[in-house]
Symmetry: C2
């Protein structure tokens, strides 16, 4: 099975009594080859189903036509849709997509990025993991290879990025709760080192201030990104802090809250309203249906990939370009 007949440019050349260079040029439709020869070569190559070895050429011209996507988790509605956007562009451009998961472990993220530094791919798209980022690796990568952040970026690194309007969206989410009648709001934060989560927090706090509601240090609840302790944290908040409105910075925290409310017999939205940053397609089938801040996952992936390919095709330098695509609030029963 392994060593099946590999068809090389050399075989074609010798079969046709031509030089390899002639065949190479003919295949790439060079002007310095006669139509006659081109036809001959193309035809024969076609009949053999010849396809060039993708990595032989890459050695010479430094292009693998592979790109990497590094993100926390594939099994996540936002990220899997972002991959779809990336994939759509990659397919169109004839690129191949390698997917890497950091599982929110920044050490693993670093080792992944390190590997990517040495020629396996032509460009990299990253959505960073929570935790202490090794900025130097990110910076090194940016310097070496076209590189674009999407959704979750390292603020300190000068690199292109595609984001959503986290601050405004969180502001509007909080405002939405307030308009529905909530007075005591809390924000469930996931991962303190994530700029997007912090942006959302600031938008949230701003909305509270703008509406003359009070808040204290308990208004922002630090959750973890692995789920182990979140139930407990959320339960305590609901029991002792007694909020009547919740903004969840990520989908999984909203789900955790649902479970806890069920256990504690707290009615949603009667006792507490909840809205979450989430791309769950079946949010409307939950009990109760969940109001969401929907991020443009597909579009963000697409935009990030487009940016990357523009750089790969050398049309434009990447610098610190910044694209912002707005999120949309969808109101459902959890904030009725």
């Amino acid at each position: 099975m392994e060593g099946a007949k590999r068809i090389t440019i050399r075989k074609i050349a010798s079969d046709l009594n031509l030089a390899v260079s002639t065949v190479s040029k003919a295949l790439r439709d060079s002007h310095e080859i006669s139509e006659e020869t081109k036809r001959l070569v193309l035809e024969y190559a076609g009949s053999l189903e010849y396809k060039p070895n993708p990595y032989a050429g890459s050695l010479k011209n430094r292009r693998t036509f592979n790109i990497a996507v590094v993100l926390p988790e594939v099994a996540d509605t936002f990220f899997s849709n972002a991959i779809n956007g990336i994939d759509a562009v990659a397919q169109e451009k004839g690129y191949h997509v390698m997917v890497y998961q950091s599982h929110e472990d920044s050490a693993r993220e670093i080792s992944i990025l390190r590997e990517l530094l040495h020629g396996r791919v032509d460009g990299v798209l990253v959505s960073v993991a929570e935790g202490g980022h090794n900025i130097s690796v990110h910076a090194e990568l940016t310097a070496k290879i076209p590189f674009v952040y999407f959704d979750r970026a390292c603020e300190e690194v000068r690199a292109a990025r595609v984001l959503t309007n986290d601050y405004e969206a969180a502001y509007l989410a909080a405002k939405h709760l307030i308009e529905r009648g909530s007075m005591k709001l809390i924000y469930l934060a996931a991962g303190s080192n994530l700029s997007i989560v912090n942006e959302r927090r600031e938008g949230f706090l701003r909305a509270i201030a703008d509406h003359q509601l009070s808040y204290d240090e308990d208004s922002v609840v630090a959750c973890t990104l692995d789920d182990s302790r979140n139930s407990e944290i959320i339960r305590n908040v609901l029991r002792y802090n007694r909020p009547d409105g919740i903004v969840a910075s990520v989908e999984k925290l909203a789900m955790q809250t649902y479970y806890v409310c069920r256990e504690e017999n707290l009615e949603i939205p009667g006792r507490v309203r909840i809205i979450a940053f989430s791309n769950l397609s079946i949010a409307s089938l939950l009990a109760p249906s969940l109001s969401t801040v929907v991020q443009p996952a597909f579009e963000m992936g697409k935009a990030a990939a487009s940016l990357l390919f523009r750089a790969l095709e050398k049309k434009i330098p990447l610098d610190e370009q910044r694209i912002v695509i707005p999120s949309v609030i969808v109101s459902r029963d959890s904030t009725a």
Copy 2:
């Protein structure tokens, strides 16, 4: 940014006044190199953060350390979890994972597989798209490169595969409905060309027969895999066929049924019970919570990847190995 100083084995050799082959061997810890020299080379290479170009070596020894996963959709609870399983093994083995989506389009699947035929990856994992399969491409791939099906396989192709016990699971799902009191069962089939869907259908029908319930041609409802017409199909079935128990062959059909039942004001499980093949983690938060046949997505991905790597490492020929990992039924309110 592009042409940054690339550190090659040759540079190391000349800097250290050694031959490239000596450096190469030292780096690979060959026994024919003195400890002294090894230390020297390793140290210097380390200080330069040298990493071999992954594709230079691949030219010679035919190994890219890349594998491909070809599946219908990343944004799917089953497939994204399967990717997790695959990724776990790949990471451990030092392999890189390229992901390709067919989007249930078998023409696209074919063109993807064709591309994979020519050396971009060392092995391929496939879960086939619905529709007319070009068996010859699958067969060609099997002959050329280590190849494993997972979950959705081409029956006609002689290749290794990792499956779940679709027949039995469907049997048990139907039995579950019957035991709860359902008398008139239907099966929502998605995609006629999928062997797993057909296996499930047979298990379903067998359960009905074994329990002396009647069925006719309307008991098996042919749905589509793109959602456009499913609502209508399901609505008609519910209106005119009036089943009191439904087995959905895939998650999305269950979700469609939920929407339709809501529109039509049909109570679940009062008016109709429903159970679905699904890996939705929040099935218990739906209204009502959804009973599911949970496939071992992660384990199947892991098993398929392990099989593939065993072949890649030449330890074992792939032949037509067949691994079956059972699904688990989780009973919830939709079948109460």
